[in-house]
């Protein structure tokens, strides 16, 4: 299995932080709003296969929201010297223990201590099967992130993407940090447009294995694959409704590509858009009442919005002649998309749907396929570096940037999965 390599870049000078072999972190002064947090080595964490505290540190560091203070091991969880930690600059201290729980599982206990309030802010006791040691660490990082920033953490979520090496295409699922890669589908034909079901157990995608694009839904747990759209012509661009009951697709069966909505099993398909040109890339709004989509009805491609029942569409994007691939943040306030402006580069943009403020978030030239982290704070997208396709993550304010590459071949069509139970 290919290892994904993460590289983190934050504008400015670089300071290298020690990490595992495949992980390189470059980070610099993000600014005054980084929260200083000390992360202690968990007591007996060497007994578990996953290095709990290292994973927590890497997650928090990658978020750009924290300044990590190394803390050694804190053995006495009940007697925290708040003053000492405060004098070392830490607003909070992450401490914990690991102990075997039988059958290869581990009890992982974590406490988040506030040096400002001189009290415990949070705690979490988990029993982790051996293979989910990393997950236990990501969940602790999620809790730290949420308690200290007020926003739910997304470190324990997963991503899906497609790798390509020659004629070998693989749909893979990995943890949000690129670790724990699992193969979902391998094919000798292209796979594009993976889309997570809201419960994170299924992925819809377009496969070309029948010499044409056909939309499938694959249950990741049972491997069951269901063809949900295989009409005459091309079938593509699946997107789930927020409640998981419907899938929007783009079909060309009338001779031009139009937007349809089907039940999640492919039944009850009905046409939603009605133009003489291209309508594609449907995305449900956060409340499930609207469809954002790409249309060339005004000439070049622009993003529009219409009711899930069809009818008139309102144009949403006006900057530049080419705006495609709409994605909506989970709070419904921000639109991410790919725009081509003067100079011909395809770049990631965000639009605040209330203020109409538009911002470019990348300085690369071949960006594609944006998707929001489920907490709305980061955008994962495909880009290119040195002619190889790679993935990148940027914070919605554009300040924190990360890049994922694999050792050989291309990695593309990324999509960030939902929060999971």
């Amino acid at each position: 299995m290919n290892k994904i390599k993460y590289m983190f870049v934050v504008a400015g000078a670089a300071l290298s932080v020690s990490a595992q072999a495949q992980l390189r972190v470059e980070i610099s002064g993000v600014g005054s709003n980084q929260i200083p947090v000390a992360v202690a080595t968990f007591v007996n964490e060497g007994q578990a296969p996953a290095q709990i505290s290292e994973i927590i540190k890497a997650d928090l560091q990658r978020s750009g929201a924290f300044k990590i203070i190394d803390a050694g091991t804190v053995t006495d969880m009940n007697n925290i010297d708040y003053g000492a930690w405060k004098s070392r600059g830490a607003d909070a201290v992450v401490i914990g223990t690991v102990s075997p729980a039988g059958n290869g599982a581990f009890d992982v206990r974590y406490r988040l201590m506030s040096t400002i309030q001189s009290s415990k802010l949070s705690q979490l006791d988990q029993q982790a099967p051996a293979q989910y040691g990393r997950l236990a660490a990501h969940r602790i990082a999620d809790d730290v992130y949420e308690k200290l920033t007020g926003v739910k953490g997304a470190f324990s979520t997963r991503i899906a993407y497609v790798t390509q090496q020659g004629r070998s295409y693989r749909l893979e699922v990995a943890d949000a940090d690129g670790e724990g890669v699992q193969l979902a589908l391998s094919s000798n034909e292209p796979i594009i447009s993976p889309s997570w079901s809201p419960d994170g157990t299924k992925v819809a995608y377009v496969s070309f294995e029948q010499k044409k694009p056909v939309v499938y839904v694959q249950n990741l747990i049972t491997r069951q694959r269901t063809v949900i759209a295989n009409e005459k012509g091309s079938n593509s661009a699946p997107a789930w409704s927020p409640d998981g009951s419907k899938v929007a697709v783009a079909l060309s069966k009338t001779g031009n590509t139009q937007v349809y909505i089907a039940n999640a099993d492919g039944s009850g398909i009905r046409r939603i858009s009605n133009s003489t040109g291209i309508d594609t890339e449907p995305q449900f709004s956060a409340d499930g009442q609207y469809i954002y989509f790409t249309s060339d009805r005004s000439g070049g491609p622009q993003i529009y919005r219409m009711s899930v029942n069809g009818g008139d569409a309102q144009r949403v994007t006006f900057g530049g002649p080419y705006n495609i691939s709409p994605r909506i943040s989970s709070d419904g306030k921000t639109l991410a998309y790919i725009s081509r402006r003067d100079g011909g580069a395809f770049q990631l943009y965000v639009l605040d749907l209330e203020t109409r403020q538009e911002q470019r978030l990348s300085d690369t030239t071949s960006d594609e396929s944006p998707s929001f982290a489920p907490n709305g704070k980061y955008i994962l997208y495909a880009t290119e570096s040195g002619r190889r396709k790679s993935l990148a993550v940027v914070s919605v304010d554009g300040r924190v940037k990360q890049r994922l590459t694999i050792q050989a071949g291309n990695i593309k069509e990324p999509t960030w999965g939902p929060f999971m139970k």
Partner: protein, 173 residues
């Protein structure tokens, strides 16, 4: 003796024909089972092994006009060019005489998003489909689909490669 010579000649011709009919159809998998010409047992000099020849399907003639199955398009264009008209006409004429099914696969160059390019490739496939329909090919025997930018014929990142990839291919099922 004369017979044996003839048989040898016929076998050689059959082999040659077989060689001639090696697939033009790039997308078709190679046949798994190949029939070998039967050779008479060496002891029986009076045996006759029959050989059957078939007329060549013009579709399988690598030097014939039907070997050209690609229609190229200009940048940002979805109209069949003059140089593509003959390709469309030749295959339409063949389909008028032969009950075959075709896929028309539209393609784009690598620039831009995968899904929007899929829709643009569809427009190219539909342009070829409409041209063939106008020449009398029944709709039920054609399917216009798109591969978007996913299966480039030319791998380069310049106009030369891109012009090769702005294309629709006629694929016989």
């Amino acid at each position: 003796m004369q017979n044996a010579k003839n048989i040898a000649f016929l076998i050689a011709s059959a082999a040659l024909l077989a060689a001639c009919s090696t697939p033009v159809k790039v997308t078709e998998p190679a046949p798994v089972v190949e029939s070998k010409p039967a050779t008479p047992p060496a002891a029986d000099t009076r045996a006759v092994a029959p050989v059957e020849t078939k007329s060549i399907d013009p579709l399988d003639d690598p030097k014939g006009v039907l070997a050209n199955r690609s229609v190229y398009f200009d940048f940002d264009s979805y109209v069949v060019r003059q140089d593509g008209q003959s390709v469309v006409q030749n295959h339409s004429a063949y389909l008028a005489k032969n009950q075959r099914q075709i896929l028309i696969q539209g393609n784009t160059d690598e620039r831009g998003g995968a899904e929007y390019n899929l829709a643009l490739g569809q427009k190219r496939a539909e342009a070829v489909r409409k041209s063939m329909a106008a020449l009398g090919v029944p709709e039920g025997r054609m399917e216009a689909v798109s591969l978007g930018k996913e299966k480039p014929k030319a791998e380069g990142h310049n106009e030369e490669a891109w012009s090769q990839n702005r294309r629709a291919d006629i694929v016989y099922k």
